[in-house]
């Protein structure tokens, strides 16, 4: 008797098929089935944001979505941010502004910030803080994370101009 379900989806732009148990979360599938370990587990109940990914354009906690629910969807993880060796402006800004310390929450912050910049290309500080409120960081006090996002927003805006 098969205990696994076949799922066809798109992950980071590539058509991907996998088998998973119905009880496995998308986060488990990403990490343990597809070995995309950039998305982190901090709480497994949707409260820390370390597993943030973008599914069909919507920012979600991948621990709170089942793997089988990814059928026919498009999932973007932190592994998608850098393209052909070029870092995303957010990644560059986090490095330059030291928007990370231990780094466990960083992938989640990057994905939340990416979702923010897609919706609000020129966010003010309050908007950034609002959008990042679903991601917990225990190292930085958020100051340099917020500055990193501000800087990246400027770079993205300049690139588009």
């Amino acid at each position: 008797m098969s205990t696994k379900t076949h799922v066809a989806t798109t992950i980071n732009g590539e058509v991907t098929e996998f088998l998973c148990e119905p009880r496995q979360s998308l986060l488990e599938v990403l990490r343990d089935v597809l070995f995309l370990t950039g998305s982190k587990e901090g709480c497994n109940d949707g409260n820390c944001g370390a597993c943030s990914v973008i599914v069909d354009g919507v920012l979600i906690n991948s621990c709170c979505m089942l793997g089988v629910e990814a059928q026919n969807s498009s999932v973007f993880t932190v592994e998608s941010l850098a393209s052909e060796g070029d870092l995303h402006p957010l990644q560059k800004a986090f490095l330059e502004e030291t928007g990370l310390q231990c780094g466990i929450c960083t992938p989640g912050f990057l994905m939340s910030a990416k979702a923010l910049l897609e919706k609000h290309p020129k966010p003010d500080e309050q908007q950034i803080r609002y959008w990042l409120a679903s991601n917990l960081c225990r190292c930085t006090g958020y100051d340099k994370i917020v500055r990193s996002v501000m800087k990246a927003a400027d770079v993205v805006a300049e690139d588009k101009a």
């Binding site: 148990e21 009880r23 990490r31 070995f35 995309l36 370990t37 950039g38 998305s39 982190k40 587990e41 901090g42 709480c43 497994n44 109940d45 409260n47 820390c48 370390a50 993880t77 932190v78 592994e79 941010l81 850098a82 870092l87 990644q91 986090f94 490095l95 330059e96 502004e97 030291t98 990370l100 310390q101 231990c102 780094g103 466990i104 929450c105 960083t106 992938p107 990057l110 500080e125 950034i128 803080r129 609002y130 990042l132 409120a133 679903s134 991601n135 917990l136 960081c137 225990r138 190292c139 930085t140 006090g141 958020y142 100051d143 340099k144 994370i145 917020v146």
Partner: protein, 756 residues
């Protein structure tokens, strides 16, 4: 060899802001944390935890769990070897009885807190393991839990432990009760001190149990091979502490254990010892397969961490001119389920930044039915400071003296006798307070109702201790730097920068790693603000020795005495013929023809009790309807001796300040009367989010530490200490009420306002 300018003020690398070497992996998702580590043929372990805060274990029946398909092994307390009473140093956590460490990993006769481990299974998947532990049947005889220091210290309190050795964790206790050890410190004549006082204030304070709140759980992978060799892959603050504690608990030789450190996803003191390692080792031994174990978030909050709740009573006397005459301090701190909490650290540090001639500090280490406390960034200091700096503030207001001036009048300076009995090592405490007083924030108008500004000033001490480092020069001039100090926030870079400064090369030529426990000499863990300071000292010494050996090689090539080689900024010059010069890289390329590779390893012990100081200023607005405290502006001042990488120093100050803000305003582990933790999730254990905070401004001061070649002081812990006191003082200045209970959560602020 003659060395020029290496330790002068003109530094090329120290004080700059290069991008960290591990950063790229961390922003691309490639960094390998504990949970990202996989072996083939692996099993997954899970732990059954007690639902009772205090109970005797009558029986454990694991037969149904063992029968579940996919389950490969079960381990319970009786699988652990019986070990003798043995007190072992736990670094900044004092001494611990290894029997207690063993029992904390797996209960044998009694469970002592909600979440105490008492059985575990290894299975094909974590889900099967979770199912299996639910099939384990345990019969308990529930016992009365003691949940706070006052009830555990009551004269008629029942002892939680039948074999309790009072004071064994730090010093023999002269006075003790059923569950508490005492540590006392003092000087002068207390009675005389209070007689001399024109004003005396006595106050009581309470603080609640809190958690370090690292985002990464406790995760470990252990392989117990057929030869009895154990290999452990885990993110830890100290690979040697994991190794040594495991050897003691499993009663096996240290040499049989190798610990390979992975990236640490936050620790703050909570990942300096073992929880899952002996369990996973025994499961691996039974199955002959590697076993990976990870805690769920609720297990982390129920069974690890916490930083103690406390009851503090404080009496201080002052003359009308503002001179402090006496202080009587009672600090009762939770130890958790086993003796040995951090209370001795606030005992030595909570008043000593002021010269108080007559003083008595009684610290009590109190066993309660909560998880064994672990260090949390300046362990125990924020709680005591919450009390002491509020009373200092109250005294200053009573006398109508400016709060900075009042502190300045009583300020401990270099050479003054500190409470533990030795003189204060060099530090410019006056510069700190002067800088605060002259700062724009201190002088800015703060208008509007329900608004107030608060100040707190704190002193803490840098842990030194043992560190090892090794530098190997590669033939292309690049350099390997190995230490045993786990990197929690950029220390591979700050250590590389110190090495680059000495060697006179570009920091990008250095590749730094954190070595496993077999590949480098013993080191103490990354705790006590020690890595950039204490490991930095060894790194500098090793780098100096590398230069000496390189100079000797140049001397061979030039056929001169090594004393005739001048080294400056990575350039080797023949003093008798200055046309002969070689760069570090050129000389490295000739190592093999001058005697072979150059590798230098050293282990050193750095001095402890280097003073650290900080002051925080905060503006708040209190909502009288809801009791919510809004932070309008925050400035943290800290003396770091020399900021090796100023961005990282700012990051340490900001992060520590925000942890302090969290414990001040929100964070609390809620236990019901049965001793059950009611908020074991990150939704209900409410840590600060980006939306709760303003920017955290930082002012870095640098009064050099003569114990370090570049004057560095550790910077990791200091800024968690002042926030709660600064916020309490600000709330008072905004509302007129004093909060004597932490966290100063909205309901408490409302209650205090209503009592006004």
């Amino acid at each position: 060899m003659k060395n020029r300018e290496n330790f002068s003020d003109k530094m090329r690398v120290v004080g700059t802001r290069p991008v960290r070497p591990d950063g790229l992996d961390k922003v691309t998702g490639r960094a390998r944390f504990s949970d990202d580590f996989h072996l083939s043929n692996i099993l997954y372990g899970k732990v059954l935890r007690s639902p009772h805060a205090h109970a005797r274990i009558i029986s454990i029946d694991t037969s149904k769990a063992e029968a579940l398909p996919g389950v490969h092994a079960v381990v319970i307390g009786s699988d652990f070897p019986l070990i003798d009473h043995q007190m072992v140093s736990q670094g900044e956590a004092g001494l611990a009885d290894m029997r207690d460490i063993s029992d904390n990993c797996m209960a044998k006769d009694k469970v002592l807190y909600d979440g105490h481990a008492l059985a575990s299974v290894a299975a094909d998947s974590p889900h099967i393991a979770e199912e299996a532990i639910k099939l384990i049947e345990v019969e308990y005889e529930p016992l009365l839990p003691l949940m706070d220091v006052c009830s555990a210290m009551a004269v008629d309190a029942t002892p939680i432990h039948e074999h309790f050795i009072p004071g064994a964790f730090i010093a023999p206790s002269e006075e003790y009760s059923a569950n508490a050890s005492t540590i006392k410190m003092g000087q002068g004549d207390l009675k005389q001190g209070f007689t001399e006082a024109d004003h005396i204030i006595e106050r009581e304070f309470t603080t609640e149990t809190i958690h370090q709140g690292y985002i990464e759980s406790h995760i470990t992978t252990v392989n117990y091979d057929i030869n009895g060799q154990i290999t452990i892959w885990t993110g830890t603050q100290g690979q040697f502490e994991v190794r040594d504690n495991l050897a003691d608990v499993l009663d096996i030789p240290v040499g049989k254990i190798k610990v390979i450190p992975l990236e640490v996803g936050g620790a703050f003191g909570g990942k300096d010892r073992i929880y899952l390692e002996p369990v996973a080792a025994l499961l691996s031994k039974k199955t002959g397969r590697p076993v990976k174990m990870s805690m769920r978030r609720d297990e982390v909050l129920r069974a690890t961490g916490p930083s103690p709740g406390s009851y503090i009573r404080l009496k201080m006397g002052v003359k009308s001119d503002g001179t402090l005459t006496a202080a009587d301090v009672h600090l009762a701190y939770e130890a958790g389920a086993y003796a040995g909490g951090p209370v001795f650290l606030p005992v030595i540090s909570c008043t000593t930044r002021y010269n108080i001639p007559n003083i008595r500090i009684n610290g009590f280490d109190v066993i309660v039915n909560k998880p064994k406390t672990r260090p949390y960034r300046a362990p125990g200091a924020p709680q005591a400071m919450f009390a002491v700096e509020q009373v200092i503030d109250e005294l200053a207001q009573l006398l109508g003296i400016d709060p900075v001036d009042f502190r300045m009048k009583n300020l401990t300076k270099t050479g003054d006798r500190l409470l533990p009995g030795f003189p204060c090592q060099p530090i410019d405490t006056e510069m700190m307070l002067r800088t605060v007083k002259e700062h724009e924030h201190y002088n800015a108008p703060l208008d509007g109702p329900n608004r107030g500004r608060g100040l707190a000033y704190a002193m803490w001490f840098n842990l030194g201790g043992i560190s090892s480092a090794r530098i190997s020069v590669n033939s292309d001039g690049t350099v390997q730097l190995s230490t045993a100090s786990p990197d929690m926030s950029g220390t591979r870079m700050t250590l590389s920068m110190q090495a680059a400064e000495v060697l006179g090369i570009d920091v990008r030529e250095i590749s730094a790693n954190v070595s496993d426990s077999e590949s480098i000499g013993f080191s103490m863990p990354t705790v006590g603000s020690r890595t950039t300071f204490a490991t930095g000292i060894v790194v500098c010494e090793v780098a100096e020795e590398v230069l000496l050996q390189m100079a000797a090689r140049a001397a061979i090539l030039w056929e001169i005495d090594p004393e005739q080689v001048l080294v400056s900024k990575g350039l080797f010059t023949n003093l008798s013929n200055s046309n002969q010069q070689m760069s570090f890289k050129e000389l490295a390329g000739k190592m093999h023809e001058t005697g072979g590779p150059i590798t230098v390893h050293s282990t050193k012990t750095a001095p402890s009790f280097i003073p650290l100081i900080g002051a925080h200023l905060v503006d708040v607005e209190v909502d009288p309807e809801t009791g919510k405290v809004e932070i309008l502006r925050y400035t943290a001042f800290q003396d770091v001796g020399k900021a090796v990488h100023p961005d990282y120093v700012e990051g340490q100050m900001q992060g520590a300040a925000v942890q302090g803000i969290g414990m001040a305003l929100n964070e609390e582990l809620f236990y019901d009367s049965e001793g059950t933790l009611k908020n074991a999730s990150l939704l209900d254990y409410r840590m600060p989010t980006a939306l709760d905070l303003p920017m955290i401004d930082t002012v870095i001061l640098e009064s050099p530490n003569p114990a370090h070649p570049y004057g560095v002081r550790g910077c990791g812990e200091m800024s968690i200490i002042p926030p709660a006191a600064a916020l309490a003082n600000a709330i008072h200045n905004a509302t007129g009420v004093r909060l004597n209970s932490m966290p100063m959560a909205p309901h408490k602020v409302c209650a205090a306002l209503n009592q006004q």
